[in-house]
């Protein structure tokens, strides 16, 4: 589904990603962990097509197409979803209107008829139950005045509504208490299927207690330095990121 080869990217002349290789297949859940500043959010932003970042080397292929040439909205059209670490506030634009526009734009991209109001409402009601989201929240301006938990739930709700092939969730657990994490994780688990894939980006292991990953990768200083299964996450939790650093230093000196 997603194939990243030797991806190098940076911002304002500073290289952040120094050669990322990663492959994600349908049905899989991957987790990328790493200390602050290792390039986790940069990777998410580059995949989604944020223009602030400059890709200097490498390829990203998504569903067999070259992703790097596409505008962000085309990437979304192809089925890519980014759950933002800091969802953006747009005053005056209701959440419902926003999602409706997005749903129909994506349908248009896929050559489908737009959903009429009734069908849209039906879909929304169904997904609201899934994410335990109430109507008043959706009538409010997009993310404006939402609590941290509400913002993240809203992200997963949008994921449910847009039904992407690959969802990248950038620190969706940060700033959430354990109950909120459970709700969010629950939503993600319900959306998992053999046809879609999830890439979790997180600093902590605790989210992985609720969403069990098939693969765990450790990102450090712009490179994936270690890959494994969920046991790797536990090891990281236990020993901290220092053990990776030490490992690396040893490897470099040998």
């Amino acid at each position: 589904m997603l194939k990243i080869q030797n991806l190098q990217a940076g911002i304002e002349g500073r290289t952040i990603l120094k050669g990322i290789n990663l492959e994600i297949k349908a049905g899989e859940v991957h987790a990328i962990m790493g200390p602050n500043g290792s390039g986790k959010s940069t990777l998410a932003s580059v995949i989604a097509g944020k223009t602030d970042y400059e890709v200097t080397e490498g390829r990203i292929e998504f569903m067999g197409k070259d992703l790097l040439d596409m505008l962000p909205e085309k990437r979304a059209g192809e089925g890519l979803f980014l759950g933002f670490q800091y969802p953006v506030e747009i005053p005056g634009l209701s959440t419902t209107n926003f999602i409706k526009t997005a749903v129909n734009e994506l349908r248009k991209y896929r050559g489908e008829e737009p959903l009429d109001a009734v069908a849209f409402l039906r879909l929304m009601k169904e997904k609201m139950a899934l994410m335990d989201i109430q109507q008043p929240l959706l009538s409010r301006s997009l993310n404006e005045g939402f609590s941290g938990g509400e913002k993240k739930r809203n992200e997963i709700f949008q994921m449910a509504m847009l039904q992407p092939k690959l969802a990248i969730l950038d620190e969706t657990d940060s700033g959430l208490d354990i109950d909120a994490i459970r709700i969010v994780a629950n939503g993600v688990n319900k959306l998992r299927s053999k046809d879609n894939a999830v890439l979790l980006i997180t600093h902590y292991q605790r989210l992985l207690d609720f969403i069990i990953p098939d693969f765990v990768h450790v990102l450090y200083n712009g490179r994936i330095v270690k890959s494994g299964t969920k046991e790797l996450a536990l090891e990281l939790e236990l020993k901290g990121y220092d053990f990776i650093k030490n490992d690396l230093n040893i490897a470099e000196t040998v």
Partner: protein, 495 residues
């Protein structure tokens, strides 16, 4: 009359425009000219021209005297064109303007069916149907082209309820007592430079009278169109809502694309008596000039309503997207006790447009309330100013005002300015003013992009969100049009 292709202005600061800067590049869709012969006065302004206009309209003597008085006042002011607004323009040559231009029709039409087909087509093209059967929604239209009204629909049906809706020309003939009583009672001929000019030379406009206790069953609307070259449009609108009545009135306006500036100086007066309510909505889309700032309408308008009776209410809503220059302050004099004034405005300026607009709320009666919501959107090289006055007089016990003025900037070559004047002479009043200035963030656009929404749609969503509070005030028939217009006006400023 094809609009010229836009060439992006040379920008030596940075050749590459940011995402946000790219989207303001649309074309004006109403820029065509109707080819119809006009009956015109020679250009220039003097007492003879005023006599000519008055004679053309077969006006009574008092009307001519009134006009001449206004003209003499204007002549005395001639050197004192107001300069306080935050706008810049070369001197207007008042002697080069044609003050009377009427489309030549073979016979004066007795009914809408007899209107020249060419004129009818003009209005069809603008999306205004003069055909009563074809109107789905209940909107009565008075169509004004250049200096004269060419027809008013639903006249009979409204007449049955005692509602008078006709051109000012007809009103002077048919209802002289009402006109004489109320004309210039809210905006005196000496009020300001442009009001004096309008009083001297106005040629038509709409007149509405809603009798006691009547709720006008349909939206009344006037559509203003400038067509002829070198003319100015000077219309006068007078709306009187008797005790306990209600009316919602709409106006729209467009003009052809021309390299020369054309002057539009209107006066609108509203009178609301006890328990009456007037809702006045404007979608102003005069030709704004081209991308380099050439041509466009100078829009100098005096609009004022008086809440004369107790418990009366006047509400102004405006969506201002057109004109090279907008100078306009729809105001309310809150004379009656418990009366309410409202002003909702969205003003968009793009390219080299300039807008200096706002309102005046004069609190005179007891327990009067006013609310001001102004949303300014600036793009391109434009300047957008809010100028508003809230005045609480000494005896205006328990006056309340809430004002909110928000500005949105698209690009870094435009300006947003806020000039609120707050004068409070009574200590039982509560006056609040809030304002913010922000821009459309690249992060907001990216967020929308990531959800599959392209940048242009994203900007439209954000702008409509920004302006929503005002758009909600518009009657349904207008809201959709206005929303489209907003998007079109800013098309190309992001992308």
């Amino acid at each position: 009359m094809k609009p010229e292709i836009y060439q992006s202005p040379k920008n030596d600061m940075n050749d590459e425009l940011s995402t946000i800067e790219k989207t303001v590049l649309s074309d004006y869709k109403y820029g065509f000219v109707t080819d119809i012969e006009a009956d015109e006065a020679p250009p220039g302004l003097n007492e003879d021209i005023i006599r000519f206009i008055s004679a053309k309209k077969n006006e009574p003597e008092w009307m001519l005297e009134w006009r001449l008085k206004a003209f003499r006042h204007w002549s005395r002011l001639a050197a004192e064109e107001p300069k306080w607004a935050n706008i810049e323009y070369p001197p207007i040559s008042y002697q080069d303007i044609i003050y009377y231009s009427a489309p030549k029709q073979k016979v004066k039409p007795n009914s809408l069916e007899e209107i020249d087909p060419e004129l009818r087509r003009t209005f069809e093209k603008l999306g205004i149907s003069l055909d009563e059967q074809k109107r789905l929604s209940g909107v009565a239209v008075d169509a004004v082209i250049d200096s004269v009204s060419i027809g008013t629909s639903f006249k009979e049906q409204l007449g049955e309820m005692g509602i008078i809706f006709c051109s000012m020309t007809d009103a002077i003939q048919e209802h002289p007592d009402l006109v004489r009583k109320y004309l210039s009672s809210v905006v005196p001929i000496t009020d300001n430079y442009f009001a004096a000019l309008n009083s001297a030379v106005f040629t038509d406009g709409s007149f509405c009278y809603i009798p006691k206790g009547v709720r006008c069953p349909m939206e009344l609307s006037t559509y203003f169109r400038i067509n002829a070259e070198n003319t100015g449009q000077f219309e006068r609108t007078l709306i009187i809502a008797e005790q306990g009545s209600y009316v919602s009135y709409l106006e729209g306006c467009t003009a052809p694309m021309r390299d020369e500036h054309q002057l539009h100086a209107a006066v609108v007066e509203l009178i609301a008596l006890d328990d009456a309510e007037i809702k006045y909505s404007t979608v102003q889309n005069w030709y704004p000039g081209d991308k380099q700032g050439k041509g466009g309408i100078y829009n100098f308008v005096t609009k004022r309503g008086i809440c004369k009776g107790n418990n009366s209410k006047i509400s102004w809503t405006q969506v201002e997207t057109g004109s090279a220059i907008t100078w306009k302050y729809p105001s309310v004099i809150l004379k009656g006790d418990n009366s309410t004034g409202e002003f909702y405005s969205v003003a968009v300026t793009n390219n080299y447009q300039q807008a200096d607009t706002g309102t005046k709320m004069q609190h005179l009666g007891k327990n009067t309330k006013s609310r001001i919501v102004s949303k300014g959107i600036s793009a391109g090289f434009s300047n957008n100013s809010y100028r508003g006055l809230v005045h609480v007089a000494k005896n205006a016990v328990n006056a309340r005002n809430y004002s909110q003025c928000d500005s949105l900037l698209l690009g870094d070559k435009c300006g947003a300015h806020t000039f609120p004047y707050i004068e409070v002479k009574n200590n039982t009043s509560v006056v609040e003013h809030e304002a913010t200035t922000s821009k459309i963030g690249e992060d907001q656009i990216f967020y929308c992009n990531q959800r599959g929404i392209d940048s242009e749609t994203a900007v439209a969503l954000i702008i409509n969100g920004f302006a929503r509070e005002v758009m909600n005030q518009l009657p349904m028939e207008f809201a959709v049009e206005a929303q489209k217009l907003l998007a079109v006006s800013l098309e190309g400023s992001v992308g």
